[in-house]
């Protein structure tokens, strides 16, 4: 079915000088779509040509519309020789194909050249006329909405969640084709860029088709990745969750939801007793040295819990003690299990997976969380012979997904949430990884939809499952009506274990939930999802990272794969141990957003696990860390050990204070099957041989090496402890997490700063694993330190969604890339209960602003500014604070300001501290904040002066203080940059700095052209950097994605804010102008 694509080339500006003689350029433009090309006239002798072309019209299939990008090439006309290309612009027209997204692309877009970077801008207009409702046609999937956001997008409502969609397409990598030897680097790069655009389009179309087949209209949590397999080809794959979404017309608060604290159970005190389980991960599945090896593990130790909300008690597969309905529940369990099994089976046959790449869910959707499930597999790459039949890669992933599913099943869960897949490639060896969180979901969103159940049943196996749980739900309802069940707080329900207590798949200590006292919870919970908004959390969270570096021998082919797969379990195990220890060191008991990345290089393996630690109120308080020495005879050694122990205890105490973790110390008896000794503490898992209670991990330990392993282990252990203690504490005023939001912080200001930081470290000597460990760990720590320093003007602030990516670009190089967003918040409100959230009383706002006013005035008085404009500006700043707090990051001279402020604020914090005690409620233990940092400095921009629209970028799914009113479509861009004059461009740093800035600029420009003023759920999924300093060359590939949106400030929606609002209004309107 055809559509008509129309493009008009309006003008260019800032073009480079192409004719040295005249210092000018004779530019014209080629507009290409598919195989059709149009040209504009030559606009002679100008660096700012005005083409004002006619409308170029392409009549094409909608299939092509989805696959192909519109390709605009700007050239310099040359009468005698070949025309020189200035650069290109690829425009993804997908957003125009969906009626609810953008309607026109119009604006200045950077002209990009893979060798020279951005070379001026071009103003274009692009429109699409679709002739029909194309949803009926199967080869195309126009109209399916795509979201990178891993939760239900803010202005939509999930009518139904259909399930997992995945697809992959493969092709030969142009860089490795024979023709590459004879063409220019530019031609090769452009071929690659174009190919990836095409493949992405095709992939998206195919996924869209699957969604339509399932009866959905959108893909949420769309995650697309590239595998650059080198010689063997190029794989583009994507996963997502198919949903049926409905646009919400009414206004809905766009800020993060706040924990609902209405449950009666929350008033119950949780006792803090120091009982602690030796949570030991267990890795299963020793690798087999086959050509294609699979290795898998699930790290079960920690994470299981289930919730008993009124509606689902029956789901617990075990009879519960002290519960009248125990018998019936027990009975229920049988059929349910059978059902589940049946469902899994049928799903298996149909190759369907109950996987959800989502990380945040509508309230009530997530019932119980089992724990993290992950699977890895080491594969040897071979050439993809037939691009149209990507079965091999499909089969590989199939294998892994099956494994994940079976792990989830072992945890008594039917679904996997927070699911993601990744690869790491080195030469011809490839590790495929998948991980997620086993969970039990409510059937509500799979049933309530407008589609009738029959219809769905016929379509997809997931429904089988839903029916199952539906039945259970019904039963449960009856038991509830009998009065056996009471409403359980949603704040703890997800922690309740979903698996059979008597048949735990791994060692864990279960206790009754500290919130509701009714259901069992594990001692520690690990998950890959975001912290549910309704969860009861004590204190604040923080970023926890485990870092590991292992040397390995150089090897080729199968041998290499064997070595790697042999190393993997140890790597995972140690990462897990580290995570566990660091978690305890911070006095916390749960990890969210866990992401374990394993990278392979020729001579080493890197493992990086990042997560956000929190103290879940429902879970027992973690014990401390006990160091056990092996030779009690030696006195100095003893002393050393006890010193160490003291340090650790001090650190734990300090951390508890820092993160405000102070659960009420109510002593209560523990009921539960494996009752741990109250005093039992977790050991540092190093010297395994002596700990009798850690039998399970002995399986993993290195049997015969034991004799000298002990000694090594001891030094190891000492180093581990050092590593634990040397983790740099976040500076005062900073918080960090890798999840969307930080528990305990609600009152975000609108000051946000997204950033990307990349570091490459060269190792020059041959190092031991320990030395490498230290270097790697320092690298990450230093990077964090630098970030805190850079962003010090935003204090108090939280670095959210800290996403670390590690790679080994070549031997002896370690690359770490971080993308995150820094968000300021108002300190004062921290001290009050989080519940009252965004809507603060007018009075409060006013007093607050008064304070701010003072600050600003002070500042202006203090900083002797050479700028005569500064004082009026300062005033206008204040003005805007009063109104809307639509502000941006402040860059002003922090140094001199900060010092004087801190003084002020110390005083201030002190007074506030006193007042706050009263307002503290039972659930949020809002303890006084020790740090006396002020709220961030923010300067206001007056946007009117600038002709460039401001586009905000954030890796989060929301913008604080603003409401997303429209999603304009997905941004998915791939760029290659290459240079043969590395030194001249400022060396590798200069080169990459420019490139990343250019990528940001292009993303912003495309969003602005779609009419948007922000990108949410932004991520840099690929950053492959290669250099050859000897040849003065470097190349870099970057792939970024996100959702283009229009947002408006909440303050603009409210009629209350009267004062100077002009600045704010510009923010949102400005973007649409261009």
């Amino acid at each position: 079915m055809p559509g008509k694509l129309k493009a008009k080339i309006v003008a260019g500006r800032h073009l480079p000088i192409m004719d040295r003689a005249s210092d000018l350029t004779d530019a014209f433009v080629e507009v290409k779509f598919g195989n059709t090309t149009f040209k504009t006239d030559v606009y002679p002798k100008s660096l700012n040509p005005q083409w004002n072309s006619e409308w170029f019209k392409f009549e094409v299939d909608d299939e092509d519309l989805q696959d192909e990008p519109l390709q605009i090439t700007v050239l310099d006309h040359d009468t005698y020789s070949a025309n020189d290309a200035i650069g290109k612009v690829y425009i993804d027209i997908d957003p125009l194909l969906c009626s609810e997204a953008a309607t026109v692309i119009s604006g200045w877009l950077p002209i990009y050249d893979t060798i020279h970077g951005i070379r001026g801008e071009i103003n274009v207009l692009v429109k699409v006329d679709l002739f029909n409702d194309l949803n009926r046609f199967r080869q195309s999937s126009c109209g399916v909405k795509f979201f990178c956001t891993t939760s239900i997008p803010r202005c939509y409502r999930a009518v139904m969640v259909h399930g997992f969609v995945e697809e992959l397409v493969v092709n030969e990598d142009p860089e490795y084709q024979w023709i590459d030897r004879i063409r220019t680097p530019r031609a090769s790069n452009e071929a690659r860029q174009r190919l990836i655009f095409l493949m992405s389009g095709e992939l998206q179309r195919k996924i869209g088709l699957k969604v339509l087949e399932m009866g959905g209209n959108a893909v949420v949590g769309y995650l697309q990745c590239f595998d650059l397999e080198g010689e063997s080809g190029l794989v583009v794959r994507a996963i997502g969750t198919a949903c049926t979404l409905e646009k919400i017309s009414s206004t809905l608060p766009a800020t993060a939801t706040h924990p609902s604290n209405s449950s009666p159970s929350k008033d119950m005190k949780e006792p803090g007793f120091g009982e602690e389980a030796p949570g030991v991960p267990l890795s299963s599945g020793p690798p087999t040295p086959l050509r294609a090896q699979t290795f898998s593990s699930f790290s079960p130790s920690k994470s299981y819990s289930r919730q008993s909300s009124s509606s689902d008690t029956e789901l617990s597969l075990t009879p519960k003690t002290g519960m009248g309905s125990g018998g019936s529940a027990g009975k229920e369990a049988g059929p349910l299990k059978a059902l589940l099994r049946q469902q899994t089976q049928s799903a298996l046959e149909q190759r369907e997976y109950p996987f959800f790449p989502l990380t945040a869910f509508p309230p009530g959707f997530l019932l119980h969380v089992g724990g993290v499930v992950s699977a890895r597999s080491v594969k040897l790459l071979d050439r993809i012979h037939n691009p149209d039949e990507p079965e091999t890669r499909d089969a590989w992933w199939e294998e892994i997904r099956q494994e994940i599913k079976s792990h989830a099943k072992a945890l008594g869960c039917q679904a996997v949430v927070g699911y993601s897949e990744s690869t790491s490639i080195c030469e011809e060896v490839c590790i495929l990884s998948a991980s997620g969180t086993a969970a039990i979901l409510s059937s509500r969103f799979m049933q309530d939809g407008p589609l009738d159940t029959e219809h769905r049943l016929s379509r997809q196996p997931l429904c089988v499952f839903s029916t199952g749980s539906e039945r259970v739900e019904g039963d449960m309802g009856s038991s509830a009506s009998l009065g056996f069940e009471e409403v359980v707080s949603p704040g703890c329900g997800f922690c309740h274990i979903p698996y059979d207590e008597l048949n735990i798949p791994f060692p864990a200590q279960l206790t009754y939930c500290y919130c509701c006292r009714r259901y069992k919870v594990p001692d520690v919970l690990f998950t890959t999802i975001d912290l549910p908004t309704e969860a009861n959390v004590t204190g604040k969270g923080c970023l926890i990272q485990a870092r590991l570096c292992r040397t390995k021998k150089k090897a080729q082919g199968e041998g290499n794969a064997t070595v790697i797969s042999n190393l993997l379990p140890f790597l995972e195990y140690e990462l897990h141990t580290q995570l566990m220890n660091k978690l305890k060191l911070r006095g916390m008991n749960a990890l969210f957003g866990l992401r374990i990345q394993i990278s392979i290089g020729e001579t080493m393996l890197l493992g990086l696990a990042s997560a956000t630690g929190v103290y879940l109120t429902a879970l027992p308080s973690p014990g401390g860390i006990q160091i056990a020495g092996k030779t009690p005879s030696d006195i100095t050694y003893e002393q050393h050990i006890s010193n160490m122990q003291k340090k650790i205890n001090d650190t734990i105490a300090k951390n508890k204070e820092l993160y405000e973790i102070n659960p009420p110390e109510v002593v209560e008896e523990i009921i539960g099957s494996p009752i741990p000794e109250p005093r039992q503490r977790s050991r540092l898992f190093r010297s395994q041989s002596e700990s009798s209670d850690e039998v399970s991990e002995l399986d993993l330990s290195h049997g015969k090496k034991d004799a000298f392993v002990l000694e090594i282990d001891d030094t190891d252990a000492v180093e581990d402890i050092h590593a634990l203690l040397t983790d740099f504490p976040t500076p005062a005023g900073f918080y960090s997490c890798n999840t969307e939001i930080m528990p305990g912080i609600q009152n975000w200001t609108s000051a946000i700063q997204m950033f990307t930081s990349v570091r490459v470290f060269r190792l020059n000597a041959s190092l031991t694993s320990q030395g490498l460990n230290k270097i790697f760990s320092d690298l990450c720590e230093n990077l964090l330190k630098s970030l805190y320093f850079k962003l010090r003007s935003m204090v108090p602030c939280c670095l959210c969604h800290l996403n670390f990516t590690v790679a080994i670009p070549e031997d002896e190089l370690i690359q770490v890339a971080v993308t995150a967003v820094a968000m300021s918040f108002d300190k004062e409100q921290l001290l009050e209960n989080g519940k009252q959230s965004g809507e603060k009383t007018l009075i409060k706002a006013i007093t607050e602003n008064d304070e701010q006013l003072q600050f600003n005035l002070e500042l202006n008085a203090e900083t002797p500014s050479p700028n005569p404009l500064s004082s009026p500006k300062g005033l206008s700043e204040v003005g805007s604070h009063l109104s809307a707090r639509a502000l941006s990051v402040d860059y002003s001279s922090f140094a001199d300001r900060c010092s004087s402020w801190i003084e002020q604020l110390k005083l201030k914090a002190h007074t506030i501290r006193r007042g706050s005690v009263k307002t503290t409620s039972s659930m949020e233990k809002a303890s006084p904040l020790p740090e006396g940092r002020s709220r961030s400095l923010r300067s206001n921009r007056s946007y009117s002066g600038s002709s460039v629209a401001v586009v905000k970028m954030t890796p989060l799914s929301f913008i604080p203080g603003a409401k997303i009113i429209k999603y304009l479509g997905i941004i998915n861009m791939f760029f290659i940059r290459e240079t043969t004059s590395l030194r001249e461009e400022g060396g590798v740093s200069g080169f990459l700095h420019t490139f990343i800035a250019e990528v940001f600029a292009m993303v912003r420009a495309h969003v602005a052209a779609l009419g948007g003023n922000a990108v949410v759920s932004y991520s840099m999924k690929e950053c492959v950097f290669m250099e050859n300093p000897n040849k003065n060359q470097a190349q870099c590939l970057i792939n970024v994605s996100g959702d283009a949106v229009i947002f408006v400030r909440e303050s603009e929606l409210e009629s209350t804010s009267v004062q100077t609002q002009s600045a704010t209004t510009h923010t949102s309107n400005g973007a649409e102008g261009t």
């Binding site: 951005i118 570091r759 990051v889 140094a895 740093s989 990343i996 940001f1000």
Partner: protein
């Protein structure tokens, strides 16, 4: 083991004013780090020297990337590469175009040529300003000069619009351009006591009163060059000293007016003819480009120095020049009132400004 690559890119470009200033001052990265450490930023933010080094390098790189935009400040507002809030942009531009008074004193009135640029290392040595900073400042002068040289309309306004500079800075640049164009001599020993601001004030006076633009805004080439016609007319003033009667009459008028009003009356009376000759001769010679260059040195030698040696206060000078100017109007045979007023207005304000230690 070394950090091979280290970059930080924010969606909104982060720039530290302090580091920017260090960069502008031409400090090397290492020197800048030292300065920052001494400034105490480390203690405040719990940072290490390593972090500071990384941050400084990063900022330096950002500034270098911005520099080409700063050469054409108007571009900064509509470029897409860096998202910089407008107030930040204004700060960047203003500081980039700011200059050291001690530096500008060295090159003021010199031809902004390659030759002068080559001598900058001497200037750097003499002023203690880094060569890098000297070059930046010199290039700024030259760039502004080249752009406005060809433009019609008021000089200050042109500079402000093309370089988005605040008013005062635009005026200073106008002075620099004006001095460079007319090649006023400012480096002679006798002139060393004068600050740049003294000269800038005088330049303002000259631009506002003695150029073509001062009379007619629409003329071409207006503000940079002195009004040739006016300079021609100045020759007519010679009558004030060549005509003996006129000179005596003028003297007696001034003396009558000043008697009893000043402590240096006797010296004034004794010196009147000399002073008057000095001022009128300056006027008469201005038609020659070479004498234009010596304008300031002439003022000092012919008027300021004699007065100073007689211990006139600036009140005395003011009084004298006021009556000296006004009395000419009463002279019977003197007809060039307009030219005289236009000339003496500027001379008076320049001398008053320059009359200090």
């Amino acid at each position: 083991m070394s950090v091979e690559l280290d970059v930080f890119v924010g969606n909104t470009t982060i720039m530290d004013k302090e580091v920017y200033q260090l960069w502008l001052n031409g400090y090397t990265v290492n020197d800048a780090v030292k300065v920052r450490i001494e400034g105490g930023v480390m203690e405040e933010c719990e940072a290490s020297a390593e972090v500071l080094l990384s941050d400084t390098m990063d900022q330096y790189r950002t500034f270098q990337m911005c520099e080409r935009l700063l050469h054409h400040p108007a571009k900064l507002a509509n470029q897409l590469l860096f998202q910089i809030p407008p107030d930040r942009q204004a700060m960047l531009i203003e500081r980039y175009y700011a200059f050291d008074d001690s530096f500008v004193r060295e090159v003021l009135g010199k031809k902004l040529s390659k030759g002068t640029k080559k001598d900058l290392d001497d200037v750097s040595l003499k002023t203690g300003i880094t060569l890098k900073s000297c070059r930046r400042q010199f290039d700024n002068f030259k760039r502004v000069f080249k752009v406005v040289e060809e433009l019609k309309g008021p000089l200050v306004e042109n500079i402000r619009q093309h370089f988005l500079l605040p008013d005062q800075l635009a005026r200073d640049y106008a002075a620099i351009v004006f001095f460079a164009n007319n090649r006023f001599e400012t480096g002679k020993k006798k002139l060393l006591y004068l600050t740049f601001q003294d000269f800038a004030f005088c330049a303002g006076q000259l631009i506002n009163n003695w150029t073509v633009g001062a009379v007619d805004n629409m003329m071409e080439d207006m503000d940079v060059d002195l009004d040739k016609e006016f300079l021609q007319d100045l020759k007519d003033l010679k009558i004030l000293i060549t005509d003996k009667d006129l000179l005596d009459q003028h003297k007696s008028l001034v003396c009558t007016a000043l008697r009893g009003k000043t402590n240096v009356f006797n010296e004034m009376e004794a010196n009147f003819k000399n002073l008057s000759r000095g001022l009128v001769n300056i006027a008469a010679k201005l038609i020659n480009a070479k004498d234009v260059r010596d304008f300031f040195i002439d003022l000092v030698e012919k008027f300021i120095e004699p007065c100073r040696s007689d211990k006139w206060t600036s009140i005395d000078v003011n009084l004298y020049l006021t009556h000296y100017t006004n009395s000419a109007h009463i002279l019977d045979t003197f007809k060039y009132y307009a030219v005289w007023t236009r000339y003496m207005g500027v001379i008076k304000s320049c001398i008053l400004r320059m009359y200090h230690d």
